[in-house]
């Protein structure tokens, strides 16, 4: 773990002074590259396990890759983005998606002179119950939240929580 952190830190320092390089990825499984980011899109290439690819952009959980055979889309789950590849600190910045290149919303909401918050600031903090009571008053009604979601055109979905694979014996813990 410590070694991994040291490696990541070293990679960050090394990359900070370098110009942006292409981001690369390795196929974790043998998979296909498709014409569009969709399971139903036409296959443009079959890619072998451990093949290398250049990552061009992300859309949802798909990435556009340039392989030796073709350029097209593959699922993010099929590849591991090389941590040491270019494109910014530690690689993976292409995962920002079709990023606008802006650093943020441009909405400056901080008061002038706002300072940072450290671990010691939190540990040494004197609880502010008045502020807590103020924040409590900000709560909104369930119906208002639902109306706001509807007004924004949000479509609720039924999706189950993902259960990570568990060792078969864990059910005996009780």
């Amino acid at each position: 773990m410590t070694h991994k952190l040291i490696f990541l830190a070293t990679a960050l320092i090394a990359l900070a002074s370098q110009p942006a390089l292409a981001q690369t990825a390795t196929f974790k499984i043998a998979d296909v590259v498709r014409a569009e980011p969709s399971d139903s899109a036409a296959t443009v290439a079959n890619v072998a396990l451990n093949s290398k690819a250049e990552v061009l952009e992300r859309k949802g959980f798909w990435v556009k890759v340039k392989t030796a055979q073709a350029t097209g889309w593959t699922k993010l789950t099929a590849v591991s983005i090389d941590q040491s590849s270019g494109g910014g600190a530690g690689g993976m910045s292409v995962l920002a998606g079709l990023a606008s290149g802006r650093a943020g919303s441009g909405n400056i909401v901080s008061s002038a002179g706002t300072r940072g918050l450290s671990e010691n600031d939190l540990k040494g903090s004197k609880p502010d119950l008045q502020a807590y009571e103020f924040v409590k008053t900000l709560a909104v009604k369930e119906t208002d939240a639902i109306s706001f979601a509807q007004a924004g055109g949000l479509q609720p979905r039924e999706i189950q929580f993902i259960k990570p694979p568990t060792p078969p014996e864990t059910k005996n813990q009780n």
Binding site: A16, F61, S93, V94, A96, S105, E119, A145
Partner: protein
């Protein structure tokens, strides 16, 4: 059978390591460790009346299991909210809430809609911006979520805001902080005394004692697995509410680009796994439904006019 014992041991060791790190001086009796095996990490819906059940149980292992079930039942919500009050007040003591009423209202409308998709929709979910240039967000037990202005300014869409809030909601939904605070208090007091105080804790005296631990925990952070878990469940919660399930990747990518050397990210990098690790982990466990939900939502651009 042997494998089973090994798994239990690994689970206990993992749990213990997390709070040994957080509370370095804790002494953990061996029999208590066995008892903590009764904690079901994921189940928030225990319906039995565990307090009474635990009281009848002369076996300390069973008694502790019962108390932990109390912590995850509806009966425990009041206790959790009380502990959360102290935790949130501590954070607010370090960074004051923003007076921007429109933005705070926006956060509450977005956040509440997501929280309604959790297992604990009846908690008093409340959201607020807090004034600090640090990029971070905090979840207090009981459902108060605080997001820093530094982080808010980094967000480009309502989908990204939803991803951040959903991650924090997931921490509360899974009772990540509260479980650790509760476990630690039991270890410190001894299981019998803890049980006695809990049963007669009408004026929340016990809850007040746990507040300091909560503030400490917020400052030091959870274990890595809890953060991955909140990323994973948060992705689902945001998608349930109609948001882009992949928006967390955009947020994490921004954090990664800024890097740990950025002063405003110091605390976040200290208390969370690296954004690169989180992004890699997020993309390993996807369901077809989640993949299909990776589309920019119709509400995405609302953030640009919120607060104006």
């Amino acid at each position: 059978m042997k494998n089973s014992q090994i798994n239990i041991f690994k689970f206990l060791l993992g749990g213990c390591l997390s709070f040994v790190c957080i509370f370095a001086n804790a002494q953990i009796p061996g029999n208590l460790l066995k008892g903590l095996g009764g904690l079901d990490k994921k189940d928030n819906k225990q319906q039995s009346a565990p307090g009474a059940e635990a009281g009848k149980d002369s076996n300390p292992m069973g008694a502790i299991g019962g108390m932990l079930r109390l912590a995850t039942s509806n009966q425990g919500d009041d206790e959790e909210i009380k502990v959360g009050e102290g935790v949130a007040a501590s954070v607010l003591g370090a960074a004051k809430p923003s007076s921007n009423a429109k933005l705070n209202n926006y956060l509450n409308l977005v956040g509440k809609a997501i929280a309604l998709k959790s297992d604990r929709k009846n908690l008093p979910w409340t959201f607020a911006l807090i004034e600090t240039s640090s990029i971070n967000a905090f979840a207090a037990p009981g459902g108060m979520i605080l997001i820093t202005t530094g982080l808010y300014e980094l967000l480009e869409s309502e989908d990204e805001l939803a991803a951040v809030l959903a991650h924090e909601i997931a921490h509360v939904n899974l009772q990540h902080h509260f479980k650790i605070i509760k476990q630690q208090k039991m270890v410190e007091m001894g299981s019998n005394l803890f049980q006695k105080e809990l049963s007669k804790d009408k004026d929340n005296a016990l809850a007040k004692k746990m507040v300091g631990m909560g503030a400490e925990l917020i400052a030091r952070g959870l274990d890595k697995e809890s953060e991955f878990e909140a990323d994973r469940d948060g992705m689902v919660l945001a998608a349930r509410a109609g948001y882009d399930s992949s928006a967390m990747l955009s947020v994490l990518s921004k954090l990664q680009r800024k890097g740990s050397a950025d002063g405003s990210l110091q605390l976040l990098f200290k208390t969370h796994p690296s954004p690169a690790d989180r992004m890699a982990k997020l993309t390993t466990l996807l369901s077809p439904e989640l993949e299909a939900a990776a589309v920019v939502s119709a509400a995405s651009n609302r953030i640009s006019t919120a607060g104006k």
